[in-house]
């Protein structure tokens, strides 16, 4: 039951004239003018998006390393779990596994989707087809040995422009497969191949975005634009714009323990924010919290003229 001190009896005192339509009209004019002025002064940010072709040209070694990880199933996406695959159970909140409750709704087979299927679209290359057939016919252990050897070789590789100098000893068919994939990507073919894998019209960028996110290009650009998680992440905007500052509390939890060091940080932060959001909505019904404004009487400032008039 609410305290009688929180009561708000119907007002029986004096009234003053008020023009609600005029107030709203003036407010619209003021806000429109302010937004226009800010636009003239600061415009809006628009950093061009990254493409897989750009990634393959600017960071060819990183592209090849990521593509090899997609092929052998060691990339972040390959081991992600729901909603992309069954490689892991995902994050948990105590005994609750919300991440897996709706299963795999956006299936991604990283080897097939990012490497094998795009390579299969390259026409008139019987040597490449033979290498793919050799790879597919090999045992899982043999495939792993090839991809491990190629990944090791990439660690010593150097890029000269868009070309990569690598000594892929023991990499078997993986080396020529990846060389072909790099050429396809640098020509822009992989951007199209990942987008049009189902139909002509396409709005779902899940596959190319996750592929790029497994590499370094996006995170390198994000770091330069102060967008990484430890830089308060996505609440920031590219450039010096205010961004989504209203997400400060959500982003704040990622900066402190135990969230900053937990493998279940996302699930824990989301659970906490959902609980806080519910409490925020229910403030009028929470004893104690609903009385805070009475205990810390800032309302005296808001209604100072009223109290002054009443007291006199």
């Amino acid at each position: 039951m609410a305290s009688p001190l929180d009561a708000a009896p119907a007002w029986r005192g004096p009234y003053r004239s008020y023009d609600i339509v005029k107030e709203v009209a003036i407010c619209i004019a003021v806000v429109a003018a302010l937004a226009t002025l800010l636009t003239i002064l600061f415009s809006s940010p628009d950093e061009r998006p990254s493409t897989i072709a750009q990634w393959a040209r600017v960071q060819p070694v990183d592209f090849l390393t990521t593509a090899t990880a997609e092929l052998d199933g060691s990339s972040d996406t390959a081991g992600y779990g729901p909603p992309y695959n069954h490689a892991a159970t995902g994050q948990v909140i105590g005994p609750v596994q919300l991440q897996s409750w709706l299963g795999v709704s956006h299936p991604i087979d990283t080897a097939a989707d990012y490497v094998l299927a795009p390579l299969a679209t390259i026409p008139n290359d019987p040597l490449l087809r033979a290498q793919i057939a050799r790879y597919l016919a090999a045992s899982p252990a043999q495939r792993r040995a090839w991809t491990d050897a190629y990944t090791t070789a990439l660690g010593r590789a150097t890029a000269h422009g868009t070309a990569v100098l690598v000594s892929p000893a023991g990499a078997g068919p993986v080396a020529p497969m990846m060389a072909s994939l790099l050429s396809l990507a640098q020509a822009g073919g992989l951007d199209g191949a990942l987008l049009t894998s189902r139909q002509f019209y396409q709005t779902d960028y899940t596959k190319p975005l996750l592929f790029m996110a497994d590499g370094s290009l996006l995170s390198d650009r994000a770091q330069a634009q102060h967008l990484l998680g430890e830089q308060w992440g996505m609440m920031n905007e590219t450039g010096s714009y205010p961004g989504q500052v209203w997400l400060w509390l959500y982003t704040f939890w990622y900066q402190i323990k135990p969230f900053s060091t937990s493998d279940n940080a996302d699930a824990l932060v989301w659970a906490l924010m959902m609980a806080l959001s519910l409490a925020f909505v229910c403030i009028p019904f929470i004893p104690g919290v609903r009385s805070i404004p009475r205990w810390i009487p800032l309302y005296r400032l808001i209604w100072r003229e009223h109290y002054r008039a009443q007291a006199s």
Binding site: R16, L227, Q244, N264, P284, R294, A309
Partner: protein, 217 residues
């Protein structure tokens, strides 16, 4: 019933009209007077929030009518995107000031709990609306935000049906579903304010002021 007497209408329409007229008579819906205590700049921030909502919806409609890629390639498109962006920033700034003001007034008192709930839910839905806007930008910011935000949404199962890397789905949420929700919730919030009136001051403070006055006397 005699000749010339109108039959007592028990239709749903008549009942709804009667109920609406009873809850919100014209003088409540469009008031030309307010209690004397409504005399602070803090009260303006509610109207400013609605004004910002009008500006961002109007600029968003221009952007939507020309398509999501228009603002990247034309100067006038970039201008309207700027107005849209800054209207959103003003919208959240004024809404947060309005929200804090209402909190310190204890604006839920006197049977106004639902007014607070409607406003608070509007704030949360607005965050989702703005978030999908950032995902619909078709630039690097949208790429980065989507690849980062997916982990949080996936971790609690929401990502299975709300895929932040699906531009088409996010654009639909941003230009139709969430704006309609924000506008309807705002309308509901305003109607509740008009029906219940602005919360009066705490009575305890008045008693304290009188006590201080008596001591001085």
């Amino acid at each position: 019933m005699s000749i010339g007497e109108a039959p007592r209408d028990r239709s749903w329409t008549a009942r709804l009209r009667t109920r609406a007229e009873h809850a919100l008579p014209p003088e409540k819906l469009l008031p030309d007077r307010q209690p004397a205590y409504v005399a602070s700049w803090i009260y303006v921030f509610g109207a400013l929030t609605i004004a910002a909502l009008v500006c961002l919806v109007a600029s968003g409609m221009v952007l939507g009518l020309k398509g999501p890629a228009w603002w990247h390639v034309t100067g006038i498109g970039r201008f309207f995107n700027g107005v849209h962006l800054w209207s959103v920033e003003i919208f959240f700034f004024t809404m947060v000031v309005h929200l804090w003001g209402k909190f310190w007034m204890g604006a839920w008192r006197g049977g106004r709990s639902l007014t607070w709930v409607a406003g608070a839910v509007t704030f949360l839905i607005s965050i989702a609306a703005a978030f999908t806007g950032y995902l619909s930008q078709q630039n690097f910011d949208a790429q980065w935000i989507s690849t980062q935000a997916k982990d949080g949404l996936n971790s609690v199962g929401i990502g299975a049906f709300f895929n932040v890397t699906n531009f088409g789905q996010m654009y639909t949420f941003h230009v139709i579903l969430l704006p309609v929700a924000v506008v309807l919730l705002t309308a509901w919030h305003v109607l509740l304010v008009r029906r219940n009136g602005v919360v009066p001051p705490y009575v305890r403070a008045l008693a304290d002021e009188r006590a201080v006055g008596e001591e001085r006397a």
